[in-house]
Symmetry: C2
Subunit: 336 residues, 2 copies
DNA sequence: AGTCCGACTCTAATCGTTTAGTGCAGGATT
DNA sequence: AATCCTGCACTAAACGATTAGAGTCGGACT
């Protein structure tokens, strides 16, 4: 390893001068600057970020902790955060908690060990037996995204999930559907609960009884949704439309519909939350509520960088709007 | 920040004893161990990974550099590598070069600065004006995945792309198709070239002239494939089947087919390389060649960990087999 | 009794930077 | 002429861990 000392020796200056030259942190005469740069070039010297971090107490590292990177929402978020972090001069330490509270805690510790400058965190909803205690998180700038960890006071960026649920359901109602089933997420997760609330809001607004609506609840996963959907579509009278609470579940639902020999949207209309790159290539093209992932990521990073820069004050909650993308998976009700 | 000194003071021992206790690196009497652990608990001490890294010269960090994280292949790879790294006690520093050689070089430097213990690297094929020179990479254990960087001697894990192209094409040929178009990737990328070679292999094997086959080449992207596909399907006589070289391109192709008012597989059969989670939920379900992403990731990490452990020797090249997944996007040729 | 050994424990150097504090030379100011 | 800046450059002390190497203290052996 070639160190700053080697450079200093070759350039016949002190290490302080090398450091000052490279970081422009103090004035250095043009002549010495030239000598230093020549030596750096000759030796192929690159400063050791670890040593620098130890001395300065900061790293150019941002943590990003997501519960499931295969979910396109988080995939896109990773991309956006990574790009924004790069622009701000940070690299990203990516961890996937896999929806597992124990792994999550391990990773939170790891973030601290690696001294990340800040953390973008999409918490697993369910706190484990010994949830992330305040001490693990103390002093670390954090922005939570999509979900809120219970008992953690940090900035939060979410979409208006209730409205998202409302938008999708209202669309189905406008097309004349009255018997609408819901494939909902796990009740303990904020987004799932809120989306379902939006669903019932819409029903109630049209004078329908939400309690009479067939609702299946389960994890935000394909298998659960598949089972849930088959059950819903087996009930009598069969729903004419389905509200689906997230992208993974939508896959399960579409599979179930196909396996039951039904056609979408002819036999059953489907509207879901979470747009994703392939939604527009499906047959039928899927009507979804799109989350502004780019805006979410940008907001999160903006808030986080402000906190890193020392911005104090009470935790901020930013709620972003989402948008209904009408495609072809919802049809007016037959004979409606 | 609470340091090892604070713990030592509270436990009334030396820092060496604290370190020995925590790392089990030297025998410590039960009594002192207890005192140390109590102090650690009381203070909520967590060792500083940065300081440790500086002293030991190693980090528990693995770099992962991919060209496009929105590509499901790389998304899955990220997941697999992240999980495997976690099992091996490493965290992952994720960077997305965005298919940009300049960004790639920046990130390679960053990996060195952060002193990653090793690097899993899916290179951008095209070397920039001043490609990643040997010095930037010197001494860093590297495993390349999917693509080979020109001029870099490092282990390489790839699939048998030629056979993948062959498998998909042979399937179409067996269904009776004779006029088969190819939506191929950029010729300078190894996987793209090899896959196209497998395509021509299959044609030749059946006595067809590969030069007569309509081939569109472009970046591994949706837009390019969309345009390419429209052109191919506009030619006379229209191909009855399409070979598509990657997942992004497949999306473009399916969109183009839909926009042209054609039905798949009734009017046109499609077989593609790269399976992805949604392929089975499309309508029609997509026939693809699946890459063993899990095996690829595991192999890459196995090789990398061996190199980190000091394993010397010439670069290894591992070629993994892939598998044709027959679904519903290919039909026997009408009247065939 | 004297020596040696094993089992702990401690002191202090070290990793590669950054940076406060000090020194120094030469020109401007009184 | 003495003093004071000002602008560079240097020395040396951190940062928080790990780890040689040295010291200590009983008990076992000769």
């Amino acid at each position: 390893m070639v160190t700053i000392r080697d450079v200093a020796k070759l350039a016949n200056v002190s290490t302080a001068t090398v450091s000052a030259t490279l970081n422009r942190s103090a004035p250095v005469s043009p002549e010495l600057q030239a000598r230093v740069r020549r030596a750096v070039e000759e030796l192929g010297y690159a400063p050791d970020g670890v040593a620098r971090s130890l001395k300065t107490g900061t790293t150019a590292l941002l943590g990003l902790l997501v519960p499931d990177i295969t979910n396109p929402f988080f995939t896109q978020l990773v991309r956006v955060v990574e790009a924004a972090a790069q622009r701000a001069g940070y690299a990203v330490l990516l961890c996937d908690s896999d929806e597992d509270p124990a792994k999550e805690l391990t990773y939170l510790r790891l973030m601290r060990t690696h001294r990340v400058a800040g953390l973008v965190w999409c918490p697993v909803g369910e706190p484990g037996p010994e949830g992330p205690n305040a001490r693990t998180l103390a002093g670390l700038p954090i922005v939570m995204v999509d979900r809120a960890a219970p008992g953690v006071a940090a900035d939060l960026v979410v979409i208006d999930n209730r409205r998202a649920g409302y938008l999708a359901t209202a669309h189905l109602l406008e097309l004349g559907h009255r018997r609408i089933g819901a494939v909902a997420g796990p009740p303990h997760l904020l987004p799932a609960a809120e989306r379902l609330r939006g669903f019932t809001d819409a029903l109630r607004e049209r004078g329908l009884d939400p309690d009479a609506a067939p609702v299946g609840q389960g994890a935000f996963r394909e298998a659960e949704a598949y089972a849930s959907c088959r059950e819903l579509l087996g009930s009598e009278p069969r729903p004419t439309a389905l509200f689906v609470a997230n992208n993974h579940m939508l896959i399960g639902v579409m599979r179930a519909i196909a396996d039951l020999g039904l056609a979408c949207p002819a036999d059953i209309s489907v509207a879901a939350i979470d747009d994703f790159p392939w939604a527009n290539a499906f047959n039928p093209r899927l009507t979804t509520v799109r989350q502004p992932v780019a805006a979410i990521g940008e907001s999160a990073l903006r808030l986080l960088l402000a906190r890193i820069a020392g911005h104090a004050g009470a935790p901020v909650r930013e709620t972003l709007a989402c948008e209904l993308i009408v495609r072809n998976s919802c049809a007016p009700i037959a004979g409606g």
